[in-house]
């Protein structure tokens, strides 16, 4: 396999359900390159899930060929094929009668790995997805929150280290805040793992955030546009794509920009253990109204001002709790949402390990949006001028 050969290639794949004249998927050609996240996005009923399920032959194509690492797998044993492809669905489908460890071990067991290898792999995956093995190994799915179940679902799909991961609206069933978290975690994981991923969603914002490339599908899984998110936002190929992107392409662009690209501001800080005098001195010398209190591990804990220092025993309980955190991998849109939720107008930017990096002010983001909008207006004016 040469590096430029696609990991997965669909060639004139068609699916016509029995008793129907109209194909659900009509002669689709699609290439998915190694290590990329390809997002299939489109309105409901466009056949995006069907397309995904054709790849691991959960649905058998009526005609056409599917190639996996250059090999035609249209007619190989489907069960054997699926063990080499990770699969995550929206409802996750964890096995309720099996522990988390047993759930994750599903494919390795099917592949007859020995017990020691399975055990260490399970622990590795739990750690990788941010779940303490000693706590979660022997729990049952009913004891998990939605976000935890979703992490286990991803860990289970990754268990036998497949090169390819198919994900069907994997974060669709969790609340928006948890979804942002899961998306960011997943992107961070993917930066290490470099899997080839096909990701289905109906949410264009999620598509822009997650995709290295996006295929926008219209009815019968016809590709309306297949390109990077930047290119699609900059130049929608058709009226359909334009409509699907919807209004406010500028704001969509916020999904593309990461917090690490935004300038962070400094904030006067005090690090525990510290004293009232130290805080007052920092307030005086910086001229700021607020000072950020970091704990021993340099994690931001409290916002302190002069007033909050009165009648308080411990600084760790004084002032206001820090509740708006953003990480470098968060999109600017995430950051904006987090700020609006916390009503703080300023968010603490932390490194992945939770330690303090700087703060992002609402003003910074507002300026950024205004800037993007100005660019958008200029571009439209240029287009209008060129066409008149």
């Amino acid at each position: 396999m040469t590096p430029t050969e696609p990991m997965i290639r669909l060639e004139a794949v068609e699916k016509i359900y029995p008793g129907s004249d109209i194909p659900a998927v009509a002669r689709l050609d699609l290439e998915i390159m190694p290590g990329e996240i390809l997002v299939l996005v489109g309105p409901s009923g466009c056949g995006k899930s069907t397309t995904l399920r054709l790849i691991n032959r959960m649905i058998e194509p009526t005609s056409g060929h599917i190639f996996f690492e250059g090999e035609d797998v249209t007619n190989v044993d489907a069960d054997q094929l699926r063990r080499k492809i990770g699969y995550v669905i929206q409802q996750i489908g964890l096995f309720p009668h099996r522990t988390i460890a047993e759930n994750i071990a599903t494919v390795p067991r099917l592949l007859d790995w020995d017990d020691d290898r399975i055990e260490s792999r399970v622990d590795e995956l739990l750690t990788m997805t941010g779940m303490e093995p000693s706590i979660f190994r022997s729990r049952y799915p009913k004891e998990l929150s939605g976000g935890q179940a979703q992490r286990v679902g991803v860990a289970r799909a990754l268990a036998a280290d497949p090169d390819v991961l198919l994900m069907d609206e994997p974060f669709g069933a969790v609340d928006p805040i948890a979804r942002d978290r899961l998306q960011n975690e997943f992107l961070r994981l993917q930066a290490e793992l470099k899997k080839t991923i096909v990701f289905v969603t109906h949410d264009i914002d999620e598509a822009i955030k997650m995709g290295d490339r996006i295929a926008i599908l219209q009815e019968q899984s016809v590709i309306a546009q297949h390109d990077t998110p930047e290119a699609i936002l900059a130049g929608p190929a058709s009226k359909f794509v334009e409509d699907f992107l919807g209004a406010g392409a500028t704001l969509k662009g916020l999904n593309l920009m990461r917090v690490r690209e935004v300038e962070v501001d400094d904030m006067p800080t005090v690090v525990a253990p510290t004293s009232r005098e130290q805080v007052l001195q920092t307030l005086d010398s910086s001229g700021s109204d607020w000072v950020l209190y970091l704990d021993e591990k340099r994690m931001p804990r409290r916002w302190l001002d002069r007033r909050s220092l009165d009648d308080v025993e411990a600084l760790s309980g004084a002032g206001r709790e820090v509740n708006a955190f953003v990480e470098p991998e968060d999109t600017v849109r995430d950051a904006l949402e987090i700020m609006l939720h916390s009503t703080a107008g300023v968010a603490c930017c932390v490194k992945p390990d939770g330690t303090y990096r700087g703060v992002i002010r609402l003003e910074t983001l507002m300026a950024l949006i205004a800037d993007l909008q100005r660019q958008e207006r200029d571009k439209q004016a240029a287009v209008a001028a060129a066409s008149s």
């Binding site: 489908g93 964890l94 309720p96 049952y140």
Partner: protein, 218 residues
């Protein structure tokens, strides 16, 4: 009080006989439980994805349950003779419906997403059945088995009428000797022991269900 005393006297004089009849009764229940469960669960599994076959199988099992037990046992005599076999076959036929119905219900209650993910990870249909579907349907299936066993432990009393023995012997014996002394005591002995046996088996099943239901779905 006098009645109770005479019942106790009656029973204490016949401990060996009671013991033997109870064992015969248990033999019916035990063998029918095993064979009936195997047949009904197998059929239930085979028809689970075939709506027409499912309705036919459940329909036949329902009709069988409406055949009067005495009639059924007697009809079997020309085919298999008297003794153990007519009651065994008849009781097995009666045991099918509750188990089959619960097997079908249990299997169809398994979450589609769970089956989808099992299939998507490369479990073949046999692996899905043994590792996912049956364990998840188990609590419902075992409840059907329990109902079935209670049902047959009562009907098994009829075995006595076709020479099959069991605790029904006491009832039969009492009935034929009414109003001679000891006839009522015989009927009471048979009836009470059957009820006692049924309650005992029922509580054993509760324990068994609890012990065999996977912790995650308890």
């Amino acid at each position: 009080m006098q009645g109770l005393q005479s019942l106790i006297d009656y029973m204490s004089q016949r401990v060996d006989l009671i013991w033997e009849s109870t064992l015969t009764h248990l033999l019916y229940i035990g063998s029918v439980f095993v064979v009936g469960t195997i047949i009904a669960v197998t059929v239930g599994v085979l028809v689970r994805h075939r709506p027409v076959a499912r309705e036919i199988a459940l329909g036949i099992a329902s009709v069988m349950l409406t055949i009067p037990s005495l009639g059924l046992f007697v009809m079997l005599i020309p085919l298999v003779g008297i003794g153990f076999w007519p009651p065994f076959i008849g009781l097995t036929i009666y045991s099918l419906l509750p188990i089959m119905r619960n097997t079908v219900a249990g299997l169809s209650s398994v979450d589609q997403a769970v089956l989808e993910s099992a299939r998507g990870m490369g479990m073949n249909s046999r692996q899905r059945l043994w590792r996912i579907e049956l364990p998840l349907a188990w609590p419902v299936i075992i409840t059907g088995v329990r109902v079935s066993v209670l049902l047959i432990s009562g009907i098994a009393a009829i075995a006595a009428l076709v020479g099959g023995g069991g605790l029904g012997d006491f009832i039969n014996d009492g009935l034929t000797r009414i109003p001679l002394p000891g006839s009522l005591e015989a009927i009471w002995t048979g009836t009470l022991l059957i009820i006692f046996l049924a309650l005992l088996i029922d509580s054993l099943f509760l324990l068994f269900r609890r012990a065999t239901t996977p912790a995650g779905i308890r």
